[in-house]
């Protein structure tokens, strides 16, 4: 564990050419620097996602340029764009097909809450109703810098995940679900309208 190695001793050893680390640190270092996103664009935000991966913003600096078209090879799902009720079941299915550990970035106003199209009858009011989201990026569409920032936040989150002990990462806990039920088309709306195990909106108490 990183806590057991004294920082001063470690830097002293590094000067001597000895690099001391823990399994957890090495594991997380590898994971956070090779996040492979699912190549999956929904709407306008997908173009900014491509711009982030393209020449100027260069997502490769953060180890995230390997966009995989297959969910079986992906670590990260960037929900980039408006999620319609027709598309939501496919997104949940894609999420279920991704192997653990997996992360989700909800990119843009539409993926967070429905955004400008919230009043529409066919737009899902946020993908976090069905799958757990790690990082939210506001904006319509968010700038590529915002996506890079979300990427760095995710790296920070991965870096802090513990492999053992009480607070170990959820993907190591066998009791935590890694697949979620795929919503079905009902008479008027998707059924269920939200997954209560995932979606816990804040309760606003009015006095």
């Amino acid at each position: 564990m990183s806590g057991q190695v004294d920082e001063g001793l470690r830097s002293e050893l590094q000067k001597q050419g000895i690099w001391v680390t823990s399994t957890q640190e090495l594991y997380n270092w590898g994971r956070r620097n090779s996040i492979w996103p699912l190549q999956f664009g929904l709407a306008c935000c997908a173009i900014e996602m491509i711009a982030t991966a393209a020449s100027r913003y260069d997502l490769a600096r953060f180890g995230g340029e390997v966009f995989r078209p297959s969910p079986r090879q992906a670590d990260l799902m960037i929900v980039a764009g408006t999620v319609t009720k027709k598309m939501a079941p496919q997104i949940v299915r894609l999420y279920n097909q991704m192997p653990d550990p997996k992360y989700v970035i909800s990119m843009g106003a539409c993926a967070i809450s429905g955004g400008p199209f919230k009043q529409g009858y066919n737009v899902l009011k946020g993908i976090d109703r069905y799958i757990p989201v790690d990082v939210y990026i506001p904006g319509c569409p968010p700038r590529p810098e915002a996506l890079l920032h979300a990427f760095m936040e995710l790296q920070r989150k991965i870096d802090g995940q513990k492999l053992t002990g009480e607070k170990k990462a959820p993907f190591l806990d066998r009791k935590q679900p890694s697949e979620f039920p795929v919503p079905a088309f009902g008479a008027h709306d998707l059924e269920p309208p939200a997954n209560p195990d995932v979606f816990r909106p804040p309760v606003v108490e009015r006095t």
């Binding site: 664009g41 900014e48 598309m87 008479a187």
Partner: protein
Amino acid sequence: MSAGFHELEEAPPLMTSRLEGDLLEVSMGPQHPSTHGVFRMNVALEGEIVRKLKPVFGYLHRNHEKIGENTSYLGSMPYTDRLDYFCSMTNNWAYALSVEKLAGIEVPERAEYLRVILAELTRLQNHASLLGFLLSDMGAWGTPLMYAFREREKILDLFESLSGSRMMCDYMRFGGCRCDLPPGWMERARKLVDGFPRFLDEFEKLIVSNEILIARTQNVGSLSSELAINAGITGPMLRACGVNYDLRKVDGYGFYPRFKFRVPLGDHGDCYDRLMMRALEMRESIGILKQAMEQLPAGPIINPKVKLRAFKPPVGEVYGRIEGPKGELGFYLISDGSANPYRYRVRPPSFVNLTILEDLCLGHTVADVMVILGSIDIVMGEVDR
């Protein structure tokens, strides 16, 4: 169970039996690296040859028209940005043009010139990124797209300094434009326009006589001019079949009659022609841009008589159209005299151009389907609305 609201969601099966005739049914999309968004095709294959193709739409249906009927005329302007999210400026212009036609609003000269400049810049970045995506679909993974996006970023920088947003510009207003050019903008734009042919030369050198590209695109997805006219195809796709129809010449909207430019035409109507059409159109756009930048007069940017807030046009109906980068983009509005349009209808070019996809793909291999789809130039935000 009562009729579900997505009853039509599952497309009917293409074959009665999967074993019949040894056809294999493949569902491509909605999550597919080359379907340009969330488009799905059910393809019936005999070996590798496409025998039937059925497109499935609606994965990005965002109720654009219904929202348009429930918001004020000006309130729809930001939504038009999100129709075809590559070309927000031309979408804005088409909508503003329709409302101006409906209410009889005059546009000052400077605003008209700016609209032409911004529309042509939009055309440049749309066509450049289309070429990048198309080559990416063909297997030139990465490099052409990087080159195209390098140029696109420069144009987006101009849009951003002008309107505050890279993609969703929301710049046009009824009777003019929202704000005047920031200082130094014109010099930057001139520099970009002067430098753009270098990118085109480089790009054309890489692609025009590339053997793989020619093998993948020539005589693939040939479209006859009769079918194109009958199906209502517009834009570069129509002109690639040799039909001389460009709304900038036909309608002469904006100040386009004041500029000297040629309309490039193809003759085979195959994917190669459609691809080269974009490259040639970019060169013509550069010519228009140079003329417009030279002639740009000083003056007001917006008609001061227009009341943008509580805007109520007279009763009537109108169809306004412009030549967008993808084809004829039209808005059909019915006004009942209130603050909201009674009916708001978009005529999206990529949707109409997509209707002949099956005719183009039949008899080609499944790998060519992606090239044909890429050469049509669709954006799902506009197809599904």
